[in-house]
C-alpha cells in the first residue's frame, strides 16, 4: 500500500465498527420485517405487493402523505426564510438565546406539540375564546388538516432558520456590494445574487422538512383522523394488528424509497454548501445601524415568529395549570403523583427517570456511532461519499414503528431474545438519534481545513493522535451540538418506543399517549407534556450554552 494520505485513507478502519453496528441494529431487523412482507409464508410471493398496489386506500394514503409534506415544506419555508433573514442580518440583544429558543420546537417531542396545539386551538383554547369573542364558531383541531400543517410548520421552522441563517450569516457580502455598484436595486440584489448563493441551503432545508413531515407520526396520530393518516401512521395501524404485517412491510419499503430520495438530495446539497462556505465574520448589522423601516420590519417579524412558536407552548403550560375557572393550580400535577400507586397509570417519576436514562445512554452510543460514521463519510470522496452519507442516514428514513417491529421479530430467540428488555428501546433510540450527531459532526468536519490534519502528521502525530489532538478538539462544538439534538430526540422518541414499550420502562411520551387515551386523561396528559417540554427545553438550552473552547483545549 502506498503511504500517502489519499482521501480514502483508512475509510474501512474507522467505518467498519459503525457499519457492523448498523448492520446488526438496522439492516438485519429491517430485512427481517421486509422479508415477512414479500414472503409471508417463507417463500417469496407477490400477494402482499398486489394487495397493496390494487387497493385505492393505500394510494390515497401515499397521495395524502406526499401532498401534506409538500404543503408543509412550502409553508415552513414561507415562515422560516424571513426568520433566517432576521437572524442572519440583524444583530439584536439576546440573539444567541433567541436562536436557541427557536430551536426548542424542533427538539420537542411530537406528542407534546400535538397536545399543545390541541390545547391552543381546541374548543376551550385561547384561539377559540378569541373567535367566540367576535362571534365566530369555536374551533376543533382534531381531525383537521390545518392543525396538522400548523404543527408541522411549528416543528420545522427551526430547520429553515438554522440552516439558512447559518449560511447566510457567513455569506461573502462583497458580491452583493458589487452588484449594487453595478446598478442593481435591493430586490434585484436579493434575486440575482443572494438567493442563488443561498439556493443550496434553502433546498437542503426543504429536503429535510419534507423528510420529517413525510414521516410524521405523533402529530398525525393525535391530530389526524379519518382520511388524514400518513404512511407511517397507516403502517403503525396495520402493524399493531400483526396479521397485516406484510402490507405494513410493503408500505415501509415505499416510505424508505421516498425518504432515501430526500436524504440523497440533502446529502448532495450539503456538499455544495460546504464547497461554497467561507469562514467570514458575522455580517449581521446592529439594530441601530438599520433604517427605521427595516427596524420595524425586523421587530414585527420577530414578534410574529415568537408568537407562533410561543403561543402553543404557553397554552400547554397554562392548560396544565388550570382546572375549570378557578385560576391556576397544581391540581393536575398533584393528581399525577397522587395516583401513582394505581396500577392503571404509569408512574410519572418512573417515566422521567426512564426517559432520562434512555436519553443519556442513547446519546453516548449515538456520539460514538455518529463520529465514526462522519469520519468514514468525510474520507470517502465523490459520489461514493454521497451514497455512503445517504445510506448512513437510513435510520431517518426507516419508519420508527417498523424499526420497532423489526426488533420484535429479530431479537426473539436464543441468547439474543431481547423481547421485553430495555435494551431494544435503547438501541432504537440510539439509531433514531445518531443521524443528528452524524450531521452536526460532518458539518464542522467539512469546514475543517484538511491541511491541519496534514500539519499534525508532519509534526510527528500518527493518524490516531492527529485525530485526537487536532481534529476532535476542532469538531467538539459540532459533536456537542449533535449530542444535544440526539438527547432531545431520544427524550421525545415515540414511534419505536410505542411498539417496544413495557409498563416497567415506559417513557414520558408513552405516559402522555397513555393518558390521552383514557377518559378524563387530558389534564394528566397536559401535566406530563409540560414536564416533558421543560425537561427537553432545559437540556437543550443548558447544553447549547456550553462553549467549545472550554472542552476543546488540551
Amino acid at each position: 500500500m502506498k503511504p500517502g494520505l489519499r482521501a480514502g485513507d483508512g475509510v474501512w478502519r474507522v467505518g467498519l465498527p459503525a457499519a457492523l453496528a448498523l448492520a446488526v441494529l438496522i439492516a438485519w431487523p429491517l430485512a427481517a420485517v421486509l422479508w415477512r412482507g414479500v414472503a409471508p409464508d417463507g417463500a417469496p410471493s407477490w400477494e402482499a405487493v398486489l394487495a397493496v398496489a390494487g387497493d385505492r386506500f393505500y394510494w390515497e394514503r401515499l397521495g395524502f402523505t406526499t401532498a401534506q409534506a409538500l404543503v408543509s415544506t412550502v409553508l415552513a419555508l414561507a415562515v422560516g426564510l424571513p426568520g433566517a433573514a432576521l437572524f442572519a442580518l440583524v444583530r439584536f440583544p439576546g440573539r444567541g438565546l433567541a436562536l436557541a429558543l427557536v430551536t426548542v420546537p424542533f427538539v420537542l417531542p411530537t406528542l407534546v406539540v400535538a397536545v399543545a396545539f390541541l390545547q391552543l386551538a381546541g374548543p376551550q383554547g385561547w384561539l377559540s375564546d378569541g373567535l367566540a369573542l367576535v362571534g365566530l364558531p369555536r374551533l376543533d383541531p382534531r381531525g383537521t388538516l390545518w392543525a396538522i400543517l400548523a404543527a408541522h410548520v411549528f416543528f420545522n421552522v427551526a430547520i429553515v432558520v438554522r440552516l439558512v441563517s447559518g449560511v447566510w450569516a457567513n455569506l461573502d457580502p462583497r458580491p452583493e456590494e458589487a452588484a449594487r455598484l453595478l446598478g442593481a436595486g435591493s430586490l434585484a440584489v436579493v434575486r440575482h445574487v443572494t438567493l442563488p448563493a443561498l439556493g443550496p441551503a434553502v433546498a437542503a432545508a426543504a429536503a429535510l422538512v419534507f423528510l420529517f413531515t413525510f414521516t410524521s407520526f405523533g402529530v398525525v396520530l393525535v391530530l389526524g383522523g379519518p382520511g388524514l393518516d400518513t404512511l407511517e401512521v397507516t403502517i403503525f395501524r396495520l402493524a399493531v394488528r400483526l396479521v397485516e404485517l406484510p402490507e405494513a412491510a410493503i408500505l415501509s419499503l415505499l416510505q424508505i424509497g421516498a425518504t432515501l430520495g430526500a436524504l440523497g438530495a440533502y446529502a448532495w446539497l450539503q456538499r455544495r454548501i460546504a464547497a461554497h462556505r467561507t469562514q467570514r465574520p458575522d455580517r449581521a448589522l446592529p439594530l441601530a445601524a438599520l433604517s427605521w423601516r427595516a427596524r420595524s420590519l425586523a421587530a414585527g417579524g420577530g414578534l410574529l415568529l415568537a408568537l407562533y412558536l410561543g403561543a402553543p407552548l404557553a397554552a400547554l403550560a397554562w392548560g396544565s395549570l388550570s382546572v375549570g375557572v378557578d385560576g391556576p393550580s397544581l391540581v393536575h400535577f398533584e393528581r399525577l403523583f397522587a395516583e401513582t400507586g394505581r396500577v392503571s397509570f404509569i408512574a410519572p417519576g418512573d417515566a422521567v427517570r426512564w426517559s432520562l436514562s434512555f436519553a443519556a445512554a442513547a446519546t453516548a452510543l449515538a456520539v460514538v456511532l455518529g463520529v465514526t460514521a462522519a469520519a468514514a463519510v468525510a474520507r470517502t470522496p465523490g459520489r461514493r461519499g454521497v451514497l455512503l452519507d445517504a445510506l448512513l442516514m437510513l435510520p431517518l428514513a426507516v419508519p420508527a414503528v417498523v424499526l420497532g417491529f423489526g426488533y420484535l421479530t429479530t431479537f426473539d430467540r436464543g441468547w439474543y431474545d431481547l423481547r421485553g428488555s430495555a435494551w431494544l428501546v435503547l438501541f432504537a433510540h440510539t439509531l433514531v438519534a445518531y443521524p443528528f450527531v452524524l450531521r452536526a459532526t460532518l458539518a464542522v468536519r467539512r469546514s475543517l481545513d484538511p491541511r491541519l490534519r496534514e500539519a499534525a502528521r508532519l509534526l510527528g502525530a500518527g493518524p490516531a493522535r492527529a485525530w485526537r489532538y487536532v481534529e476532535l478538539p476542532l469538531m467538539a462544538r459540532g459533536v456537542l451540538a449533535g449530542s444535544v439534538f440526539a438527547f432531545a430526540i431520544s427524550l421525545g422518541e415515540f414511534g419505536a418506543t410505542s411498539v417496544l414499550r413495557r409498563r416497567e420502562f415506559a417513557t414520558l411520551p408513552i405516559a402522555v399517549f397513555d393518558a390521552l387515551g383514557r377518559p378524563g386523561g387530558l389534564g394528566r396528559a397536559l401535566a406530563l407534556s409540560t414536564i416533558l417540554m421543560l425537561v427537553t427545553a432545559a437540556s437543550a438550552l443548558l447544553i447549547s450554552r456550553l462553549r467549545y473552547r472550554e472542552i476543546g483545549e488540551f
Binding site: P3, A456, G460, A461
Partner: protein, 388 residues
Amino acid sequence: MTSLAVRALERSYETGAAGSGGAFALGSLDFEVGDGRVAALLGPSGCGKTTLLRLIAGLDAPDRGDIRLGGESVLALPPHRRGVGLVFQELALFPHLDAATNVDFGLRMARWPEGRRRERVGELLGLFELDGLGRRRIDELSGGERQRVALARAVAPEPSVLLLDEPLGSLDEGLKEQLRPKLREMLGRLGTTSLLVSHDLRDAVEVADDLLVMGAGKLLQAGPLPSVLAGPATLRVAEMLGYATLVAGPPRAAADGALVIVEDGVGAVDVPGNLRGEAAAAGSREGRVTLRLLAPPASLIGVPVGSGLGCGVVGEVRRVLPEGPLFRVELALGDRSAPARSVRVRWEGGGRPPPPGESLGIAVRPEALRLVGPAGAVAAAAAAGDAG
C-alpha cells in the same frame, strides 16, 4: 543533518482531493539539495511545485521514483515518521491552540520531556522574534507573526529537512520585502537542509543558495543560484529569470567579418566576438534561421538615439516608471502600430527620461548578451557570470 535527493520521481495527474491544491503531473524529476543548503524551486503557479512538496513530505505517494533523506529511501515511511518539516502556504496553524502550544505540538508528539519542551519553545519564540506572544491565540496575531509561528512550529522538532511552500505567499508586498532577508538569516542560523518553493524570483534570489527552475512538471535547470541566474540553459528558463529579447532574426555577415542579427522594425545588433562562432555555425547549418540575443533584466540602459552608445535597437517610450530616485522606462520594440514586444530599461541619463511617444536607444555591454540558437538552447558565453 541530511541531504535531500529526489530520483526519477513521477506522479500522474490527479484532480486532487480537497486541500491538496492544484495537483499536476510530475515528469521524471531528479535533483539533490546538499546538506545544510537552502534551495529555491522556482516555477509558475500550477507547475507541480506543491505536489512535489507533498510527495517529499509523504502526504501523497509517487507513482514511481524515490525520495532519499541522507541517502536512505523514505518512501515507505508515513509522514509522521519522515522527519520532514513543512510550512504550508496557508500556514495551517491550529486555531484551537495558542502560539506557544502550536510551536510545542511537534515536541509533544515526539514525547520530549516537559522541561526540554518548555526550553525549546522559549528558545524558538526568541529566535523568531515572538517573545511575549506565546499565549496569543492565532487570530490575534498579525500576518507576519503567524508566518513566523508556522516556521517555528515546523522547525521545533528538529526536522532533518525543512520544506517551505510559498512561505511569503500570504503576505503583502511590503511585508515580503521586510521578511525575505529575515527568512534568509533564520534559515542560515538553523542550518537545516531546506527546499523553498515559490513563483516569485525575488524570494529565490534573496533567500536561497541553490536554484531549481521548474515548468509544467519538469525540472528545467538546477545549480548554485549565481550560476543559474547568469547562465540560463534555455530560452524558457531565461524568460522565467526575466531575460529580455533584444533582437530575434536571421544572422547576416557584415563587412569587417562581424555578424549582425537583424529584426525588421526593431534593429540590428552585433553578435559579440565570443558568440560569433556559435552564431555563424547555427546560421550556416540551417540557412535562414532565427537567432536571438538576450540580455539579463538589469543590464539594459536607455540612451538617446544618435548618441552612438546604443547597440542598434531603438524603441518607443511607452511608460516612465519611477523607481526610487531613478527611472525605469518601458519601451515598445518593432512596428509602431503593432509592436513585437516591450522591454524595460534603466534610465541613467540624469533628469527626466524622454516622455511617451519619443524614441530611445538601448545600450548594453556585449558581455551581458546571450545567444539563443534555433533549438532554444542558450549558448554559454565565455564571459558568463558577470551579468547584471
